[in-house]
Symmetry: C2
Subunit: 249 residues, 2 copies
């Protein structure tokens, strides 16, 4: 029998969570997926399994995570959104809930994602967003960062820019754009690509920060593509500055 397929757009403050995904080995950890499944299962009386567009690491935030789930319930999308809004913790918000075709799959159909990383400019003050900014201590040269970012664009094997262990799966990804903007008291890096490996945005950000600080050359990007060795890339920027902004289908 055909089930309804509901798509959610979700915003969350990842500070308190062990990431998006419920993990087999640690099924009791607090995850966004776990919170959603628990509230939806209570609402429907079914054992709801929710499919996210992809994982986000512990401490990483989202403005536009997409997820879907199948259900036999007869609640309207509006009722589903209202029920979730009422019973989810205040650090998880439902932006939209829509009924979609039975074939829609949040992960498999994702065509492109955008992540944003926020770095505080040294000497500036922003106490209200302090939990969402990486306090990198050096002044960054955006011109150098842009030069290095251009080297990252296109299709490459990003294994060296990831925390992926030996795998048979492809580690080739395509980055369509990296936009670096200085706004108010911060520098924002926006990465758009067809997909990102484990820790890839955080390692790219850490590497670009070292390049902006002058402790690494823009050309060192090529070396990492060649060696495919994580040790040749820069530090992993901390999770609290990272936001999954948007998923395109």
């Amino acid at each position: 029998m055909m089930k309804r397929n509901i798509r959610l757009k979700i915003e969350y403050d990842g500070t308190r969570y062990q990431g998006w995904q419920k993990l087999g080995k640690n099924a009791n950890a607090s995850t966004i997926q776990g919170k959603l499944e628990s509230v939806l299962s209570k609402m429907t009386g079914e054992s709801i399994q929710i499919i996210g567009s992809g994982r986000t690491d512990a401490g990483v935030h989202a403005c536009g995570q997409i997820a879907n789930f199948h259900t036999d319930c007869s609640f309207s999308c509006r009722e589903i959104k209202e029920y979730l809004t009422k019973y989810l913790p205040s650090d998880i918000g439902i932006v939209t809930a829509d009924e979609v075709s039975e074939r829609f799959h949040s992960r498999l159909n994702a065509k492109q994602k955008t992540y944003q990383y926020r770095i505080a400019i040294p000497g500036t003050v922003n106490v209200f967003e302090r939990k969402y900014l990486w306090k990198y201590p050096e002044t960054l040269n955006i011109e150098k960062m842009n030069k290095a970012a251009a080297f990252c664009l296109g299709t490459h094997d990003f294994l060296g820019f990831s925390s992926v262990k030996k795998t048979k799966k492809s580690t080739v990804r395509t980055i369509y754009s990296i936009v670096i903007e200085e706004e108010h008291s911060e520098i924002r890096l926006s990465f758009t690509g067809d997909g990102f490996l484990y820790n890839m945005v955080r390692i790219l950000t850490g590497t670009l920060a070292e390049i902006g600080a002058g402790t690494r050359d823009p050309e060192s990007i090529f070396h990492v593509f060649q060696s495919k060795d994580r040790k040749d890339a820069g530090i992993t920027a901390p999770p609290h500055g990272l936001f999954l902004m948007n998923v395109e289908y």
Copy 2:
């Protein structure tokens, strides 16, 4: 002997604090003033007393609180800012530190202040700023609020819009402007005046919210001015939506 006079512009997240002012009866409570005095006294080896432009209540925030203190120390303003930035908790930030004339007094010389109050629009999602928004459950009619706000402008006895107990001090204040803006997922009310009584901005906001929700008439403002009775005004909006934005001298 003449002491140096240092003026600070301070930003703080008031969530964790019992307000700006150290109170005699509760000298151990956590206050912004107390934190500043403690760090400055340690830095200078003097017993520093800091003068704020005015109190903010427990839970109220500031982007532009002004304070000054006198000292014999020889640290530069830059060193003072850096020391404070290093040793203050991360929810208190020093925007600027400047040396001013010995006659400058943060409270007595204040000519005008601006407060902003932020109300979330029902049904919208903003998990990242959830601690700074009042979740008022009703949809607000901004036209009605603007009509009532216009009645508040000018010089009035605001006793009925305050939590001030019987006092010999004047409760007459002048409001120069009230600007109500809808931006993204929130409504922002900005109040500029020559000074505000205890709880006055929060009671004005609560009253304007009830007027926007339609449970109170704009003309009820006049009744409060006439009766001077707190019971005739609306509810006191909670502290977490309120920001001291600016003090003019």
